[in-house]
Symmetry: D3
Subunit: 289 residues, 6 copies
């Protein structure tokens, strides 16, 4: 089991579902946490944790909050598809504040990125229908970004901000392309994309405690046979998922949308929000991808 | 010679150096232009051109200005490295307004991207010292983004916004990764990166008039033997540069910075602004790239 | 019964009392609705309706929401007397966004104007005390604006914005000078000004489905014998109110304010908010009206 | 000659062409002036005058500046057609600050309104071609507002704000619907609309010094035989223009635009900015005005 | 008993704990109150009281609300330690609006200042441990400001704003350096700092009704033997506290923090928020105070 | 002569008159300077100096600019009496950013405070008329703040911010209450308040290079016999002024304002801006100071 970090860890977005789970789990490991969110923290404060209510727009305040921290788990900001104007402040400007804080503290950033940064990649053929996706069709971490909305675009931006801060300032960062992190899978797509709470908690522990990370990218889904995703940097931080969505196949494997856009692309329903490109089939005819 | 566009073309950033040159050259071809900038247009208005002074932050105004246009040459916004807060409004929010305008008009976007979106790629060995760079070391258009500052990061974001609008809405866009567009080369690096005014003007003509573009990426430099850059979508739009920086080698080939960061990376001096990663040699020792 | 609109209808202010009633009634007629409000929609979504939570200040967002709509029922914004600074954004800037959206879509605007845009007209003599107001004293739609507060002033501005967009851009608009739209009359003044929910719903149906409207103005009250108001454009859109406040006379006819300002002017209690002109009698002595 | 006001007079927009002329002329009459503008005052300060540089958006500051003043000549804000967003602050919010200041001081407002608040009224037949317009076709001050753009709309709003403050608070205000106030006429339309500097100065003197004004409206043009405008409140304040544009007929009577929209409507060129209603002839066919 | 004020009294922060208590108590004395707060007023409105919901940032609105008032009890704004950016608007800008309103109305300001404006003064020796603090160690009202955080700093700023408005404009103001105003003492420090609700209410009555106040400063704590504070202007306004914290000594006298910073300084726990100066003992060694 | 600082020194307000002089003088001593201002730096850059154009409102940017600095000479912000709203941002919010930067860097702040923070103290009797002011009437550094306007109030706030950061965080700061820093005296008051450029430069050198400063306050005027000011912390930092205004007595000793307010108070003309307290003599009669 990894050692407890010697410095406090800052967790943004602490009042959200994932934030609350992480606060509970990491505190249980004996970590010292600083929690922050724009919304009040609804649970009892875990031991050794403090909570500061703050807007990510308050850059000077965030820099102060991060003083002395060795890592920032950045789960704050908008976490679903929203109009551009709603995403801009928290996910673009707020991210910059997080990276400036990390640079000042020589802290590592663990960034809650998303599969929606690459959501317009097509799903591997047969990924839903067969227990095991074709390995050769999986995409690797160095695939092109294909954001499926303003949210996914902000996540791609965040990963590139991490690249910049690593290249220019040596700020380490671990970018978790989270699939679908819920208590359990609820539709066929999640047989590929599901990430269990326990696997996420273990991933965050690994990302914080790995001796070195550099700039790295992780496909944050459980050990799902039907996963869309292949090679990444998990060995560098020493993480392996232990759960699998496959056990839910009988219960949810038949739950699909019936929408050909949604079913074609990895990003699922987000790809269909405002979709106006014409039928996907028409696109195939269109030689330019 | 390509035909004159049947619809007006909107040119943002019209009052800048490149904007003024393009306004003059495109008007001379008989195009109907709508010019806009936050600064007044300093030249006499070319024939068939109108000028509207406007901030890219005025989204509803920009949408109105674009009504009826068939293409948007987006050269507006911040065009050099600046603090994050200065870049955010024009290059992130303003870009969104441009893409919403293009979606509404089914217009094509020609986006003045930059080599600084990939500026932290290393230069090919010998690119400066020999007349012909090693072909095998050139990077292609599908290389990873490696922004070298907040400016370059905004340009990577802009290319990905183009990707999103193409995937989701079928908005075509041509992303010009401009090297160094000046009247003539003034330092050794420009033997690789220089783009002549005439080549840029021809590139914009090709980008606007090509029957189809989809989402495409162009290395916007002249036909320089020492270029860092390889394969791109130029055939799709039918463009070939006609000028070359090589003729300036004797005059500028010895003008280098003496700064190992600057000389190592493609982005040149931008990579060194605020650079704090330690000596590049140290980085080699560091196994994580 | 009028035909169902072929295009979707956008309803702003959908989460308010009138908005919710209209959403329910119009959906029941088979209309396809897009609902929006700054507050969440508290009811179950009617069939064929979507809801988007949005601030009227987001102009680019509103234009997108209106895409493809044939009519905009604009019931959003501030709907009671408020300080100027509170009214300015939603009712002035927001209105502009609505009209720009309508211009883009060649859609018709049905604008929830108000009797408070003319509230400082005096009530006809005897309007309260007798079952039937003097016809000759009624004011027609082309009376001068006499706003009775910042709210009423914003409504006059809205009607004139409609006039401008009709004159300059041919955008049709129907301006409903709503009296008092509540489930039932609750004071003597409402014997003149009451508008039943059913009459409002029928009015909106007529306003949307009339073949032509141009810029028109409607006194939006029920068929009240004691009405203050005379000639308007109702024939143009084919609307006649079917309810009447008169049935409530016995119950509410004696409920007056005792405030001479309120009782003198059509706008009722709004005219007295902050009133500082001296006694109305003094005003009579003052020759300048 | 009217007496010098006993209290100082506040002049907004003092650094503009009309403001500078008024500052000079009124100071020459011995008036005590407080001048303000967002731009520096370019002339030497007249005797008994002070200048405060201020944005009309600073409401608390404007209220303080107006302390002790007996009249406000409000010539500040945007004075030409501009995008909505540019007009909103100075001409809507700024106007509110002016009226609150006037209410606090029981001061009279003299408001530089504009013919563009009614610019979409048609010109009287023959108004341009004959020395004397048909009297019966002239429009009176109580005509309907027909704003010809966002600027004109803000002026209509300003007149109605004046109406509200008179009705509710007894704040007197004189609304000058200025035609074309320039050193001399420069086109045929100005034979109808020209207002000489001297006539404007005399009008302001009359408006400030009249014993009573109430809410009144003045057609602010010189004694032009070809005027479009008829009855107003000039007798109430004791003003008669003394100059006439007619002397310029030979020089400018042939200078017209050739644009049927411009020539048809009183607002002239402003009516054509962004005009998209189709040909005016088509509009005649359209029964709904 | 003092007479009822002849003019209405404006109470800001009316929806807070102290505001609600004061509204209730002062209304019971027959005062006419205008209540305001950014939050709704949660209680039934007292007799002769009106409530206006408003942000202190709305300066023009606040000036209007204060019209005709003879005194302003300014209890609005942030009332606990908060990040600088949170304090700035309400407590700095809002305060300016209050003082401008008072100047306009020649009203007296009663300002809820705080002991935290001087919180970094050391506690008198033995103040906690003995029933009676050493008189000679008490600090007087003219002690130096020693703010213990951004909140306390804003209160010092407020007192100095009062000094300025008295010196320059003759605006009277009574600055209440409130200790700990709660229903009853809950820790040892409050044996020194407690202010009973009844004493606060009587203090506000005295401050409003005193014939003259000039700029004065009051240590607003009850008649506590262990008080830290000595001479002030209470005689000028005729106030004497009647309650005492001493009765709670047995119950709370042992409740201390164990933190040497907190226990050393008068401001108590606020002084320790973000404290980073090293151990207080080290400071003693440091000759510069 | 003091040693050159080992760390760079940040100078805000570098483009102002004092800033330019200091940049020149300090660079001539061999110091490494970082210059910043909202306006461009008009002079050639001194050796070892860099210039960054920035608004003090950009807190995250300022923190970055200060990285590695050992001292901040804070001469930026508004430096004359201005409306409150103009002063608020630069002098209140900007100051906070400076102090946060200093805390992060453990840097010392040298703050350009002003005599206007105490300007409503009366001048010593005879200070103007005799070559030597009465020593006993001079005020010491621990006198009460008596700001004479919004500018002076912001300077008092700045000194108290310094007090807070010293007490809570051990940030050292030297507060220079600058009198009148001009090339030479130009009126009688400056015989008391004048500070020569050379004395200011020496003062800044002393303030930066003193081994320890704590929180200290300096009367920043030259060695003027007619000075209003007495004891301060100059010994702590080892500074003595070397110039004197007395040599200008014959030339400017008779130049006074004739305004009794100006001549009575130390702040001079600033005390009279907007003064509305009645004649000072009346104030004497008023027992409450």
């Amino acid at each position: 089991m990894p050692e407890t970090p010697t410095k406090p860890v800052l967790l943004t977005g602490a009042s959200g579902n994932l934030g609350r789970m992480l606060a509970r789990e990491l505190a249980a490991l004996g970590w010292t946490l600083r929690l922050t969110d724009i919304a009040p923290f609804p649970d009892p404060l875990p031991p050794r944790a403090g909570f500061t209510r703050m807007d990510l727009a308050d850059g000077v305040g965030l820099l102060r909050l991060a003083e002395g921290c060795g890592a920032i788990l950045h789960f704050g900001g908008i976490s679903v598809e929203q109009p551009f104007g709603t995403v801009l402040g928290p996910n673009i400007q707020g991210l910059y504040h997080v990276y400036e804080a990390a640079r000042r503290e020589a802290a590592r950033v663990i960034f809650a990125s998303s599969n929606h940064s690459i959501g317009f990649h097509e799903r591997p053929k047969g990924a839903d229908g067969s227990p095991h996706g074709a390995e050769s069709e999986k995409i690797d971490m160095d695939c092109a970004f294909r954001p499926d909305g303003y949210y996914g675009l902000s996540k791609a931006y965040g990963e590139l901000m991490g690249r910049l801060y690593w290249d220019k300032h040596g700020v380490e960062n671990v970018n978790l392309r989270i699939g679908s992190c819920f208590p359990e899978p609820t539709e066929a797509r999640m047989l590929s994309t599901w990430l269990s709470y326990a696997d996420l908690a273990r991933l965050c522990v690994a990302a914080v405690t790995a001796p070195r990370s550099g700039h790295c990218v992780i496909w944050a889904c459980s050990d799902n046979p039907a996963s869309f995703w292949g090679q990444d940097h998990r060995d560098r931080i020493g993480w392996q998922p232990q759960d699998s969505a496959e056990a839910w196949r009988a219960r949810v494997g038949h739950i699909t949308s019936g929408n050909p856009v949604i079913e074609r692309y990895q990003g699922g329903s987000y790809t269909a929000i405002g979709y106006s490109r014409g039928k996907p089939s028409a696109r195939d005819a269109f030689a330019l991808d």
